[in-house]
Amino acid sequence: MKTEGVAELGMLGLGLAFLLALAPLWVFHDMRLPLGKQLLGALARMVLQLSALGLVLEVLFRVNHSLLTVGWLLVMQGAAAHTILSRTGLKLPGLPLMLLAVLCAGGGTVLAYCLAVVVRPHPLLYARYAIPLGGMILGNSMNGITLALEKQSARLLGAEGRREWDLLLGLGASVDEARRRFSSGALRLALLPTLNTTATIGLVSIPGMMTGQILGGSPPATAIGYQMMIMLAILASVSLSAWLALRLLHWRLVDREGLFRGEAGLPETPSVN
């Protein structure tokens, strides 16, 4: 692979890039939108998180030990699970572990397939491949799971949704059939962003991974190959993990006979807020 090298930004260049933040600040000011604080907070987090990531990646790439790489992938899964929990506001005992299992089974399997079958780097867990690919797969799965769970829990735990659930069962739907009808909308919602991106990719936007590779000096053909693989991996991982998360949520809330757990015994049903 021919590498032309990247034009280094340098501290001065980066500092000048931050001047771009004046544009949203000016828009907020003109529209009297009180978002300035939020923007500065977000920028501060970006700087901190990316600098920390930079340090971690430096170490991970230099050491390049399989255990360390797997350990970091697990940390990323933990962070993804935490984000899903705080964004959905779901408070169900056992849910954090369930989410970790879902991310492992969905994202982990797809990442393993990409590394072991498609890319085949040496060593297999070469940090330079495993970490960025894992990050993209996990990040998209996290968004998909969040969308699916948000939609589904609002429906299952709301009064109207309960009535609909009872109606399906009352008209003779099996618990499986009722679950399928009930969660197809949530699964659709989880997959739509990825499907839309897949269909329009390359028309206007050049995806981040390709941008990175092209800036890094890779020939476009190589970048395109990787991009296709990553889109397929994201599609696979988002559908698998959203499907699994929905099944687990149902299993957690509804028993084998289709009744809400806790309805027969304890009156408390889990709360969303």
Binding site: E164, L171, V175, E177, E257, E263, A264, P267
Partner: protein, 208 residues
């Protein structure tokens, strides 16, 4: 025949009624009465297999419902007080139970005839969410009457209907060949039509 054995009704944190131990026979019509909050609808939900009793057990034709709720829901159907009609068209909502069971769907004429018997004259491609309360109630009843059932459970099936519509509903439900029916209602017309009448009062079932 339902057999209640030390049945406790408590859909929420509070116990509404029980322990109830007695037999209930819907074959000639069974009426349940009682003040609101006395547990009538909760008992109906138990009979429909949509809930489990807090305590005790309930059997239908000698078999306990526990562990057989999904099976029981295939032969027993409850029409809600404020029923939900799902589907893009009235035809779709009327046929939902049949299509969920994988059964043959009735023809347009059969559906129109069913609607007419309940005093409804509606196009089958109508959006069901635009029906009035009384129309929704009767459409949901027809959706139940189309199913092959051993038991029909009705929660206030004529509340808010005018005299003529209420009479049509009652004759459709009590017509020969219809499944046994359990009705929750305050109205005198059902007391005359049902052979067994019970009142839920102070946590107990009294025959009257």
């Amino acid at each position: 025949m339902f057999q209640l054995h030390k049945l406790v009704l408590a859909p929420g944190p509070r116990i509404l009624a029980g322990p109830l131990s007695l037999g209930l026979d819907p074959r000639q019509g069974l009426l349940l009465r009682g003040a609101s909050g006395s547990g009538k609808s909760s008992l109906l939900r138990l009979m429909a297999g949509l809930a489990r009793p807090r305590g005790g057990s309930i059997t239908w034709q000698g078999l306990s419902l526990e562990g057989r709720l999904a099976e029981h829901r295939l032969i027993a159907h409850m029409v809600d007080q404020r029923p939900l009609l799902k589907g893009a068209s009235l035809r779709e909502s009327l046929c939902l139970g049949l299509s969920l069971r994988g059964l043959a769907l009735p023809s347009e004429d059969q559906l129109q005839e069913g609607l007419r018997q309940l005093g409804l004259d509606l196009p089958l491609d109508q959006d069901p969410s635009r029906l009035s309360g009384g129309e929704t109630l009767r459409a949901a009843l027809l959706r139940g009457l189309l199913l092959p059932l051993d038991l029909l459970l009705l929660d206030e099936p004529t509340a808010g209907l005018d005299e003529a519509a209420a009479n049509l509903v009652m004759s459709a439900v009590m017509a020969a060949g219809r499944p046994p029916v359990v009705v929750v209602s305050h109205e005198e017309r059902w007391a005359e039509a049902c052979a067994q009448r019970f009142e839920l009062r102070q946590g107990a079932l009294h025959e009257n």
